[in-house]
Amino acid sequence: MNMANPVVQTYSLLAEKYDDELNLRSCWGRAAEKILGSLVIEGDDQVVLDVGCGTGRALSQLASRSQPNIQFVGIEPAENMRKCALRRIASCPNISILGGCFEEMPIASQSVDYLFSIFAFHWVTNLRTAVQEIRRVLKPHGRVDLFFIGRNNGQEFIRKTSPIFLKYMGPARFLESARMRSQLTREEALRLFSGTFDPLQVSVTESYETYYDSLEGHWGWWVRIEGQFVSMPAETREACDHEVCTALSDLSAEKGIPYTIHCLHLRLTLEADPQTG
């Protein structure tokens, strides 16, 4: 993913809204918080890397509950997200924020003990390069936890909104927006990483969790996919939004409007070669 990617541009444009209460309380905010609570920094970790660190929320929380001698590094392609992250970590000397992405990390080879990422890997545009880059930066005994959305994510919304987006965007833009994401099945993710790492060191688990929210609540995270509509004229966008809102309201049930997150969790645990340490 390069900096000219419409998704990166959109995240940059919306950076100041990213930590709005509505977004943090949304299904994505809640799911990310749950994942963050599951991450474990080990006693001998020296360098911890968050790829697609956004506004630095996860990094600052992890750093606050870890030893101060651990170096935390965040990589983020969207410039304004990095600015927000830098503001957040201003008083934390052991956290640094760098420009970059999965495919191109400004990090020394074999320097990272623990690499994690929360809901960013599905934006990767060159999967093989990204996996090789992960391999490059990891120490021989490094660990990885990647959480990203899977192929069957948000099917309730997709069924309702795809005909509307196709109508307003036209086939070329509609399909172009689909190509911006790499939503893998569990099997595809396993195959992808097993091509570069020892398959015995790779595991992928998947989960489906349905979150209920109001229309306003779901709309709060719509910012995350706005990159797909960057090229839509404003007046078309308004009409499209209106139809989407109406369609999503149709999903409303007693508990609210459902959205099912299909989450893949890829875990890598490397073991040092006994001859090279």
Binding site: Q155, P163, L166, L175, A178, Q183
Partner: protein, 93 residues
């Protein structure tokens, strides 16, 4: 128009859709060449990308998305005609 070629492509595409359709959608109704793949929930945008790749591989020619309407790529019989460079008749559209 080469009907045999078109019928063969339609059959291949319908088989592909049966194998790749979204889980839990379409409620077991018959998948035919007249169904709208997006409106009827058989495929999402990523599925449609994969289907177009499959069709282009079958015909060996690219589909120009800038010149087509949604119904041209979402209805199997229209898609197959376009993919083979055949005209879509009014009745087919």
């Amino acid at each position: 128009m080469n009907r045999t070629q078109e019928d063969a492509l339609i059959a291949s595409v319908l088989n592909w859709i049966r194998e790749h359709k979204l889980p839990g959608n379409h409620h077991g109704a018959e998948i035919t060449e007249d169904i709208d793949l997006i409106t009827d929930g058989l495929l999402d945008s990523m599925g449609l990308v994969d289907l177009l790749l499959f069709v282009e591989e079958q015909t060996g020619r690219p589909i120009d998305l800038k010149t087509v309407e949604p119904k041209d790529i979402c209805v199997v019989k229209n898609l197959c005609r376009i993919a083979l460079g055949n005209e879509i008749s009014q009745s087919a559209a």
